[in-house]
Each structure stands twice: as structure tokens, then as C-alpha cells.
């Protein structure tokens, strides 16, 4: 018995006119990392880094675009940010951090459509978190599970985390056209 999908494909191949249209949706991303004094809140250092929206991340977005039921499942959207000590350059095939140290739920999410559609994900690493660690990488995830659901990853200048500083990760995702 020939399945319905095969019959549909055969039918499409027999269509009189088959019109192909291609579009591009470009993810442009940047990360601003602010190191500030924990007590005075004064900025000590600002680091700008270019992250990569990984192939896995693009496929997660693809799943949302094609399957409405996924949109209202929080495990399918970016919800966690993690930091680590790995310095290996980011690749399109990354599925997680090289050496993850700490992960927590994204502190703030902001969205704007005034100029280009963009979303800002923010995570604040407080004076109590990840102390004594050397931070060199960060990534965005859907869930708490390691090495799964990695949307984007970035490597950055060394930050030696101590109780005297806080680190703010501002992750901007912009959707543009080709």
C-alpha cells in the first residue's frame, strides 16, 4: 500500500507549475558583558563579544516556526544561561560549553521591534555565584540539562570571578534579512 505522503509527493511532481522561492533569515547576535563592583555597582570593565547562534539553535528556531505547539512549551525556548571556563573557539556544531561551571535561569527578557526585531536576554551573576572561577565562555540553553538545547555560545576575555564583583551578560539576538 502506498502511503498518502508518497502519493502527495508524486502528485506534486506532476504539477503543471512548480515555483521555488528562497528566503534568508539571519540571526545577528552580540554579547555585552559588564563587570561591576558588587557594593558600589560601579562598572569596572565592559567586554563585547561576538557569539554564534549554533546550528542546533537555528534548528530549534526552525522547530518553533514550523510547529505552533512548541511555542508554548518553555523547554523549547531559550530560558537558561550558563558560564564556563573553556576557551575553545565557538563552532557551528557546539552543543554546550566546553567546561561549564554555573547555570541559571535567564534573569530578564526584553523584546523590541522599533528598529530591527530583537530580543535581549540578560543574566546577572551575583557576588555569591561562581566565585573563584575563571570565566571564559557563556551559552544560552532551553533547559537545565547539560550538552543539550544549546542555542548560542560565546567565548570572551578572562574574568576572574570573586565575591567583590558582579557580572552582567546582555545577550542580544537580532533577526535580520539577508
Amino acid at each position: 500500500m502506498i502511503g498518502r505522503s508518497i502519493l502527495n509527493q508524486l502528485r506534486d511532481q506532476l504539477a503543471d507549475v512548480f515555483l521555488n522561492i528562497g528566503d534568508k533569515l539571519i540571526d545577528r547576535n552580540n554579547v555585552l558583558i559588564t563587570v561591576r563592583d558588587a557594593s558600589s555597582k560601579k562598572t569596572i570593565r565592559k567586554i563585547r563579544a561576538k557569539n554564534r547562534f549554533t546550528r542546533h539553535g537555528r534548528n530549534y528556531l526552525r522547530n518553533l516556526m514550523g510547529s505552533p505547539e512548541h511555542i508554548h512549551t518553555s523547554t523549547m525556548t531559550p530560558n537558561y544561561m550558563a558560564v564556563g571556563s573553556g576557551s575553545t573557539a565557538v563552532t557551528d556544531l557546539d552543543t554546550g560549553l566546553v567546561a561549564e561551571i554555573f547555570r541559571q535561569i535567564i534573569t530578564n527578557k526584553t523584546r523590541t521591534d522599533t528598529l530591527e526585531p530583537l530580543i535581549l536576554f540578560q543574566m546577572i551573576l551575583t557576588s555569591q555565584q561562581a566565585n573563584g572561577q575563571e570565566l571564559r565562555e557563556a551559552a544560552i540553553f532551553s533547559t537545565e540539562q547539560l550538552y543539550r538545547d544549546c542555542w548560542a555560545r560565546v567565548t570572551h576575555e578572562l574574568i576572574s570571578k570573586s565575591s567583590s564583583i558582579e557580572v552582567i551578560y546582555d545577550w542580544t539576538l537580532t533577526l535580520g534579512i539577508g
Binding site: L64, H72, T77
Partner: protein, 125 residues
């Protein structure tokens, strides 16, 4: 072209569960509209220039970092029109536009089936 309204909607999809206007539900493309407009797409387009009709998307095929939408116009659809534009929309009748394209004219007859095959490639800049 993935127009601004479409990109906004795609961005909203990643924003859950902090959707800004609860219980706002982002839409996904589910209809495919065709028309006779010839003006080139622009980022601010929100509708076809001259919509003739629309049909439900009949197949969505996921690929690696891409998504393919297909829509079939049957023998009896849009007969007599020279179709020059198309769009991926959401909602009955197409109330929210994601993408728009213009193309060479196709004069639709009652003996012709027409398949639109639309691929959105996701890239990282």
C-alpha cells in the same frame, strides 16, 4: 523577503514564557496567499499588494537550519488571474504576513495545478 512583521513574530516565538501581552500567542505561517501585485517587496510590507486568494499550507518540511513550506493551488483556484506575488501568512485569510515575494507572471487556468515551494534558510551572521 522575510518582512519585519514576520521577523517580529519569529522573535516572539523565542521570547516565551515572557510573552509581553499575555495571553498573546505568536502565530506560525499556516496560509499561503497569492496576488497580482508587481511592486517589489519591502521590509515594511504587511499584506500582498493585490491579494487574489489564499490556501492552507499543505506541507511543512524541516531541513537542517531551514524550513520548507509548500502550497498547492488546484485546477479551479485563481482561474483567469496572472499571479505575480505570493506570501506566507498566518490566520484565516492571512492577517499577519511573514514573507512576500514577487515573481514572473503565471496565468492560472482551469487545467493547471500550481505548487509554491518556499524555503526559509536560517543563517548566523
Amino acid at each position: 523577503m522575510v518582512v519585519k512583521t514576520g521577523r517580529n513574530e519569529f522573535a516572539r516565538m523565542m521570547y516565551y514564557p515572557s510573552l509581553d501581552v499575555p495571553p498573546y500567542k505568536p502565530s506560525t505561517p499556516n496560509t499561503f496567499a497569492v496576488g497580482t501585485g508587481t511592486t517589489s517587496p519591502s521590509d515594511s510590507d504587511t499584506a500582498l499588494e493585490s491579494q487574489v486568494t489564499y490556501r492552507l499550507i499543505h506541507r511543512i518540511i524541516p531541513g537542517n537550519s531551514k524550513l520548507n513550506f509548500q502550497c498547492r493551488y488546484e485546477d479551479g483556484d485563481a482561474v483567469g488571474y496572472t499571479l505575480t506575488e505570493a506570501a506566507l501568512m498566518a490566520g484565516g485569510g492571512g492577517t499577519r504576513m511573514f514573507t512576500r515575494a514577487t515573481h514572473t507572471g503565471i496565468t492560472k487556468t482551469s487545467t493547471m495545478e500550481l505548487i509554491y515551494d518556499w524555503t526559509i534558510n536560517l543563517e548566523s551572521a
